[in-house]
């Protein structure tokens, strides 16, 4: 921070360089302090605690245990189960669900009537604006044994059941699709509005069908947006906690226990803070990797200045 804060355009005479640059950087100080204390601090603490056998009940006898927590994790069937569920949850609800439904909505919005457009976006965005705990309760009601979902599946001759019990990971995925699709829809709508119409018309003149137009012209033109959006929704989905916790608490019998819930349970329910933070650190690293990929795609299209 003490480095040179030169002006975009030099207007003031150069007096007391170091003092001036310090003075100019000063307004950033409050943010830096907060970010260091409450964000970098906990991350550092997370790295430290992950290598100890710290427990929630007391700090007495906390020992450095090296990679024990990690080797334990990779031989722990409950952890591997949780990794698998996180992959399923992210794949079904973000990569497939929110992404595809959002794209389909954005594409249909381009040709639908204004009334249909307004109505659909109002409902989809409405689902997005509601707080996550509310979304969780709504879907708990809808997917429950007497819920409306059974009326829908009953139409296809599926036996009525408590979907939260039989397929909990699918139930929470559906809720997450419902809640998160608006984001992808808005992002894709903005991107599609910048696709030049005459390019698409030219393709149609050349005899391309509607599907061919989509796969060869429209989608390739917005592919960068798709990549960025996929990164963002993956990151959002990786950290979903309240929705799943309120709907199923990770159960029944850990069938919807994704990594955030698993870390929480290990640290707070089993009081095994060291193991819990080790899981949290793994989650943080996965998030960090996705975040770096996101940055790379972003800075290619738009240099960070």
């Amino acid at each position: 921070m003490a480095a040179t804060w030169a002006e975009v355009r030099p207007t003031a005479p150069p007096v007391g360089r170091t003092r001036r640059t310090l003075l100019r950087g000063l307004p950033i100080a409050p943010s830096v302090v907060l970010l260091v204390v409450f964000l970098a601090g906990p991350i550092a603490y997370c790295i430290y605690a992950a290598f100890t056998n710290m427990s929630l009940t007391g700090q007495v006898g906390t020992q450095f245990v090296g990679f024990d927590n990690f080797t334990r994790a990779f031989t722990d069937p409950a952890f591997l189960n949780s990794v698998w569920l996180t992959v399923v949850f992210t794949l079904v609800s973000a990569i497939i669900g929110q992404n595809v439904v959002g794209m389909v909505l954005a594409l249909l919005m381009r040709s639908g009537y204004a009334v249909a457009r307004a109505l659909t976006s109002a409902f989809v965005i409405g689902a997005w604006v509601l707080p996550e705990v509310v979304a969780a309760y709504l879907w708990q009601a809808v997917l429950g044994p007497d819920g409306s979902w059974n009326s829908v599946t009953g139409f296809f001759h599926l036996p009525p059941q408590n979907w939260l019990f039989t397929t909990p990971i699918i139930a929470v995925s559906i809720a997450n699709i419902w809640r998160g699709t608006a984001f992808s829809m808005l992002v894709y709508s903005a991107a599609l509005s910048e696709v030049p119409r005459d390019l698409e018309e030219a393709a149609l003149v050349d005899g391309a069908g509607r599907f061919r137009l989509l796969t060869s012209i429209t989608i390739p033109l917005v592919r960068r947006t798709i990549a960025t959006n996929l990164m963002l929704i993956t990151l959002q989905t990786l950290s979903v906690f309240g929705l799943i916790y309120t709907m199923t608490k990770g159960g029944p019998s850990e069938k919807s226990m994704t990594l955030p819930l698993f870390a929480y349970n290990q640290a707070f329910v089993s009081a095994d803070l060291g193991y819990g933070t080790a899981i949290a650190l793994l989650l943080l690293v996965i998030g960090g990797i996705f975040s770096v990929i996101y940055l790379r795609i972003l800075s290619k299209s738009e240099p960070i200045r």
């Binding site: 207007t11 249909l108 709504l138 809808v142 903005a190 943080l284 972003l298």
Partner: protein, 298 residues
């Protein structure tokens, strides 16, 4: 060569009609798109419909099916609007989220100014770090944050939770504010500087009034995010009298066995109201388009 040209010329007439027919979406295409949109809208509206109908349904045995309210009543709202379930959590939530938003906005505006106005070789690494941290799953650091709060003996404290929540919103707010500030031309400030105003005076008197709409967008966005946050107050605030509505809805309806669905629905509506209203203000301001995360465009 000439054959190809004439062949093309020969087929030139029919495609023209195709251009007219296909260039704009045809009527049947528009109708089909609208119908599919309406079907999808119906799928999205089912849970919303349930919460609205259940909230005004006076039937004490009502389950979780969508049904027409019979008898129509506002008793569900009356039942939950008590100090311990609604008013105190509402006040706690307001203190947490308004305070948190204020802290975020003050810090983000101050930080955005040098980032937008001066050049430095530290600027790019700082901005990259900020953007990177917008992607980090905050969920993952809650376990160590709780440990930190216990060690500092600031767990179960509203001010400490408020500052932490402000920090979680800070990276994205700095990024958005800086982008809005880049849109304010520097010439106006240069005039003020030559007249002897300090940069901070320029920020408060010239830049901030000019970017009022941008700042309000960031503030509303931050508030909605904090208002919906369940995990942070759930971990950091233990006393029921200190918890905001996001946690109360869970502790009140999630833990005590038989749920009165009408009351749960009424409470959900009360809790969601600030988010919905503020979103309406936000969408007015933005006219539909929103640069999420400062640039999702490709």
């Amino acid at each position: 060569m000439t054959a190809a040209v004439t062949a093309q010329a020969g087929t030139a007439a029919p495609p023209l009609t195709r251009i007219r027919r296909r260039g704009r979406p045809r009527l049947s295409g528009r109708l089909l798109a609208s119908l599919i949109l309406l079907v999808m809208a119906a799928a999205f509206v089912i849970p919303l419909l349930w919460v609205i109908l259940a909230a005004v349904n006076g039937d004490p045995n009502q389950g979780i099916k969508i049904m027409w309210p019979h008898p129509f009543t506002l008793d569900n709202f009356k039942a939950v609007m008590t100090p311990e379930t609604t008013y105190i959590p509402l006040l706690n939530g307001a203190i947490l989220c308004i305070g948190g938003t204020l802290i975020t906005m003050v810090c983000a505006t101050l930080a955005a100014y040098p980032l937008s106005r001066y050049r430095s070789r530290l600027k790019r690494p700082f901005l990259v770090t900020i953007l990177f941290s917008t992607g980090l799953p905050i969920t993952a650091i809650m376990v160590p944050v709780y440990g930190l709060f216990v060690q500092l003996a600031i767990d179960d404290s509203i001010p400490a939770t408020m500052v932490f929540m402000a920090t979680t919103a800070l990276p994205i707010s700095i990024w958005l504010t800086k982008n809005f500030m880049d849109g304010v031309p520097i010439e106006l400030e240069e005039a003020a500087w030559t007249d002897g105003a300090s940069p901070m005076r320029g920020l408060f008197r010239i830049v901030m009034p000019l970017m009022g709409p941008g700042l309000s967008v960031v503030a509303i966005y931050t508030f909605i995010g904090l208002w919906g946050n369940f995990f942070v107050p759930f971990i950091l605030l233990l006393t029921p009298e200190k918890q905001p509505m996001s946690v109360t809805i869970y502790t009140f309806f999630g833990q005590y066995g038989q749920v009165v669905y009408g009351q749960l629905a009424a409470y959900s509506l009360l809790y969601s109201l600030p988010s919905v209203l503020l979103y309406l203000v936000l969408s007015r301001r933005l006219g539909g388009a929103f640069a999420f995360g400062g640039g999702v465009k490709g």
